[in-house]
């Protein structure tokens, strides 16, 4: 339940990313590279944003609590599209004063607000898993069902193909597949490619399990009855056999979402996924690769924490669903 609630919250954040993030994800603050996270000053019911003075030297800042402006809600800021459609420029919070920026998670090496990039990046990370799961599980269910139902040579060919895909360690397979697409393509295309690649790999495991379940379900009286009544093969598979696997499938799907999220993170981190200036969690972590950066500006690791929380939430939800579905445990 906790996992489900947390996920609802995260998805709400992702859907309203433009509204909640104080700045645009490509907006660069050329005066404030590696700005540390802003600590708001709280006095009673008022929240004030102090000014950070840029000290001479490399990206060192000093907080000046005496010099501050109040934090406002629903302020005008960078233009964006609410829900991807409606042009809008009101943000949840901000100071409306460029000399007193609100960088709750600091800025990166180009002076971009990490919180805003994190929120925009969550649009990619949180949607990629859902779309990927729908595609790969539909494939896995259908192919596994067909394989188990018909048996014989069909089954043999499909299962050998599954074994082939599953016997290559995932990331090697991913890179081999990634190689068939051009290296420098737009982020939207990469997004699609990542889904295609991971779906191509992950249906195999699903199909094998569904095949095993179908084999035992085929012996059940209700399937024999459906056959005797002369229903078509496809109808028997889709209407009679597959629904019996759903309690397992839903749990497996929930627990598989993190593979897609981590898949995008891995590819973007390795430099063959989402490209700058788009925001993505893997790409943002790539900046933390530099140990000098990481040592001095640990807030660059924020996307890593975001990934951890998301994956944890999915695992919690999956565990809870499994307990609910499995009456034995």
């Amino acid at each position: 339940m906790l996992g489900g609630g947390l996920l609802l919250f995260l998805y709400a954040l992702a859907i309203f990313a433009g509204f909640i993030s104080p700045y645009d994800y490509v907006r660069q603050d050329h005066d404030r590279f590696f700005h540390p996270p802003t600590w708001p000053k709280i006095s009673g019911f008022h929240v004030a944003i102090p000014r950070y003075e840029h000290l001479p030297g490399d990206c060192v800042y000093r907080r000046d609590p005496g010099d501050s402006v109040p934090l406002h809600f629903f302020v005008h800021g960078d233009a964006y599209r609410l829900l991807g459609l409606i042009p809008f420029s009101i943000h949840l919070f901000g100071t409306g004063n460029d000399n007193y920026p609100v960088y709750l998670l600091g800025t990166d090496q180009y002076g971009r607000d990490i919180l805003s990039r994190l929120l925009y990046g969550s649009e990619i990370s949180l949607s990629i898993g859902i779309i990927g799961i729908v595609i790969s599980f539909t494939l896995g269910l259908l192919i596994g069902g067909i394989s188990g139902y018909f048996g014989g040579p069909t089954d043999n060919v499909i299962m050998r193909w599954c074994e082939l895909i599953m016997s290559v360690p995932t990331l090697y397979m991913v890179i081999a597949l990634r190689n068939t697409f051009p290296a420098n393509i737009s982020s939207a295309q990469v997004y699609g490619i990542i889904i295609i690649i991971y779906s191509f790999i992950r249906w195999a495991g699903m199909a094998r399990v569904i095949r095993g379940m179908t084999l035992s379900l085929c012996e059940q009286p209700f399937v024999l009855a459906a056959r005797a009544m002369g229903q078509s093969h496809l109808k028997i598979i889709v209407r009679h056999i597959l629904p019996n696997t759903f309690s397992y499938v839903i749990v497996a799907a929930t627990l598989s979402v993190p593979y897609y999220i981590l898949g995008e993170v891995d590819l973007s981190y390795l430099g063959v996924g989402i490209q700058e200036p788009s925001a993505s969690w893997g790409l943002m972590l790539n900046a933390a690769q530099n140990t000098e950066y990481m040592k001095n500006y640990p807030w660059l690791l924020a996307p890593g924490v975001a990934i951890f929380i998301t994956v944890l939430a999915f695992n919690f939800l999956g565990d809870g669903l499994r307990d609910a579905a499995d009456t034995k445990a």
Partner: protein, 377 residues
């Protein structure tokens, strides 16, 4: 074998994937239904029931070895096909260079058979591999064999040590958690396991790098220090181990949680079995019951997940190698990928598959060897 074989084989092939897939969630599914497990073992057991053990074992080994050949052919064929679909190759970058004449490029292309269709290239590649030659790295300008074998060895070492660390920590912890069920030990362990299952390899590797940089106790990335060649053999070994420790721990951490939960679940299952109750009724001590009666049966199913955990490990090693600059196959794959060094990419993918397939083979052997239900038949 007589008639029942077909039924048995079917049961085993139906049960095995279920087993594998449940484990693929790193042991989140602890409760594999016991009937499936029993079917699985009966199926394996019957393989050996008619002949004496040595002969049965030999057929088993041979069967599995023969099974690997079409698999490896398939994987290499698929990789070659994918490589041929790739836009451009190493020479398309070279042809931009005005200092290299088109004739030279054409000559080089012909030398590496890159001007021929992919199945002809594949034919030449197989011919060379069978004589122990993995081709030529166009980017490194050296024969790929020595390059790949060195990297393969590094990846093997990294995975092997990670495996040892993971199992050496996870098994005792799992036993401890199961024996003290619902105590604070159990709760702490399952909490850590949950966090461990969710923490991404990337974050862990970055934190390890940060730890190394901040404390200076470990070298930051790489496999050897710059002074490596000047050291005595003992120092060289120590240098190597020091570089290996951190990546191995990071890699082990992702594997550890799953094994621990699996171990705990298995042991709890066996502790409920009737023979354990019987042993207790006879007045055996707690320790004797657990270690002599329950544990040996509880550890068997873990050997089946050994193979799967290896798959996760090799994939995890890919990303850890790339972050922590460990010169293994994964890092080489990325280097070759960026330079369009197509033969090396193919070789890496095939070699990683070989590692995985051989690991699975070893896991099957261990299972056949360790389970008395197989041996005593």
């Amino acid at each position: 074998m007589p008639q029942p074989e077909s039924r048995i084989v079917r049961a085993s092939s139906a049960a095995a994937p279920v087993n594998r897939f449940f484990i693929s969630f790193n042991g989140i599914f602890e409760s594999i239904s016991s009937t499936i497990k029993i079917e699985f073992f009966i199926a394996r057991g019957n393989l050996f029931c008619h002949r004496d053990l040595a002969a049965a074992m030999l057929t088993f080994v041979l069967k599995r070895l023969l099974h690997m050949i079409p698999l490896l052919v398939g994987v290499s064929l698929l990789t070659f096909l994918l490589m041929s679909l790739a836009p451009g190759n190493y020479f398309s970058a070279l042809s931009q260079n005005p200092q290299i004449s088109p004739e030279t490029i054409a000559r080089l292309k012909a030398q590496f058979h890159l001007d021929r269709p992919w199945y002809v290239q594949y034919f030449f590649w197989v011919k060379n591999v069978l004589s122990g030659d993995l081709g030529y790295s166009m980017a490194y300008k050296i024969p790929a064999t020595s390059l790949i074998l060195a990297r393969l060895w590094n990846t093997f070492l990294l995975s092997f040590f990670a495996l040892i660390i993971a199992w050496a920590v996870a098994i005792p912890l799992g036993i401890w958690a199961a024996v003290r069920k619902n105590s604070w030990v159990d709760h702490t362990c399952s909490l850590i396991a949950f966090a461990g299952l969710s923490i991404p390899d990337i974050l862990l590797a970055l934190l390890a790098l940060w730890f190394a940089a901040a404390t200076g106790w470990f070298p930051v990335g790489g496999a050897s220090s710059p002074m490596h060649d000047l050291m005595s053999p003992g120092q060289q070994l120590w240098d190597y181990v020091r570089h290996l420790i951190l990546p191995a721990i990071v890699l082990a951490a992702s594997d550890l949680a799953g094994i621990m939960r699996q171990m705990r679940g298995n042991l709890l299952d066996t502790l409920r079995a009737e023979y354990v109750v019987a042993a207790r009724a006879r007045g055996l001590s707690q320790g004797w019951v657990i270690y002599k009666h329950a544990l040996r049966n509880a550890i068997n199913p873990l050997l089946t997940i050994f193979g799967y955990s290896l798959a996760g490990l090799l994939s995890g090693a890919f990303i850890v190698e790339n972050i922590m600059a460990w010169p293994g196959l994964g890092r080489l794959t990325m280097e070759a990928f960026f330079q369009k060094d197509s033969y090396v990419v193919v070789d890496c993918v095939v070699m990683a598959t070989v590692l995985l397939v051989v690991g699975n083979f070893v896991a099957d052997l261990l299972l056949a060897w360790s389970d008395p239900r197989i041996r005593l038949k």
